[in-house]
């Protein structure tokens, strides 16, 4: 999709599945992320932030591909709204997780200061090698709609 969806088209995007993929927490990668985050190396991949990083890295679309489903590009300035992560079992260095998910909400809103924008929610789940849910991450994206 390249055009900005109308409100009906926007609603129909709810339920769209992500292609998904797998993500392995390689020790060198985890160490460098913790270094960038000023977090102790001993934290490993246990921080909820690793669930977000793995989920979005293996969701099966690039960010530009995700924007394109909503008729937007990086130049339109999509912004992160909220992020919510629940950890069922702390993620482990060396382990491989399967990522799956879908678009869970998509609504058009109008703000007095912000103008028209679309608020899109998506959920990504991480399952361990036994198929058990390890973590779930639900995020929202704000798409400014300056042309509307």
């Amino acid at each position: 999709m390249t055009a900005v969806p109308d409100e009906d088209e926007l609603g129909k995007l709810v339920g769209t599945p992500f292609p998904g993929g797998t993500f392995t927490f390689e020790p060198w990668w985890v160490r460098l992320v913790n270094d960038c985050a000023l977090a102790p190396a001993s934290d490993g991949a246990a921080s909820p932030v690793f669930a977000f990083l793995a989920a979005t890295a293996a969701m099966g679309w690039s960010w530009e591909q995700l924007w394109a489903h909503f008729g937007a590009t990086e130049a339109d300035g999509p912004m992160a709204g909220e992020t919510a992560t629940e950890i069922v079992e702390p993620l482990r260095v060396g382990a491989t997780y399967t990522v799956s998910g879908e678009i869970v909400s998509a609504v058009r809103k109008r703000g007095a200061r912000t103008g028209v924008f679309d608020l899109v929610g998506y959920r990504l789940d991480l399952h361990d090698e036994h198929g058990s849910l390890a973590a779930s991450c639900t995020n929202s994206i704000i798409f400014p709609r300056r042309s509307l």
């Binding site: 990668w29 460098l32 992320v33 270094d35 960038c36 985050a37 000023l38 977090a39 102790p40 934290d43 490993g44 246990a46 921080s47 909820p48 932030v49 977000f52 990083l53 890295a57 960010w63 990086e74 300035g77 912004m79 992160a80 709204g81 909220e82 992020t83 919510a84 992560t85 629940e86 950890i87 702390p90």
Partner: protein, 135 residues
Amino acid sequence: MTAPGDELPAYEVGPVSAEKMKTMSALMRDANPIHFDPAAVRALGLGDRVVNQGPLNQSYVVTMLTRWAGGADRVRALRLRFLGNVFAGDRLVAGGTVTAVRGDGSGRVADCDVWLRVSGGDPVLSGTATVLLGE
């Protein structure tokens, strides 16, 4: 014993490093130049300093919780709203307050309000966390 109303020890961060942002862009395969090219930030009218990645800002909140609770594996849920940008050179402070203590399937947990803000300035993140208590 942890109780509602307890203040979580503040965690001070900074100055935020532009070099770590570059490494993080590579690790995340994030091509957005606002994290490594000041010209891209200027073009957006956001000033001359590169913008920190959201996951790094979230991590500072997690580290604040980790220092209090005894390990990142104790942070079982985290919900954050993005309120503003962090720029290279900023100094930040993360903190929070216990709002409830309860039992769940894994033991006693504390629900907390948490936040990250620029020192002496605007809030950057605000939200809630659930932390497994070791007591």
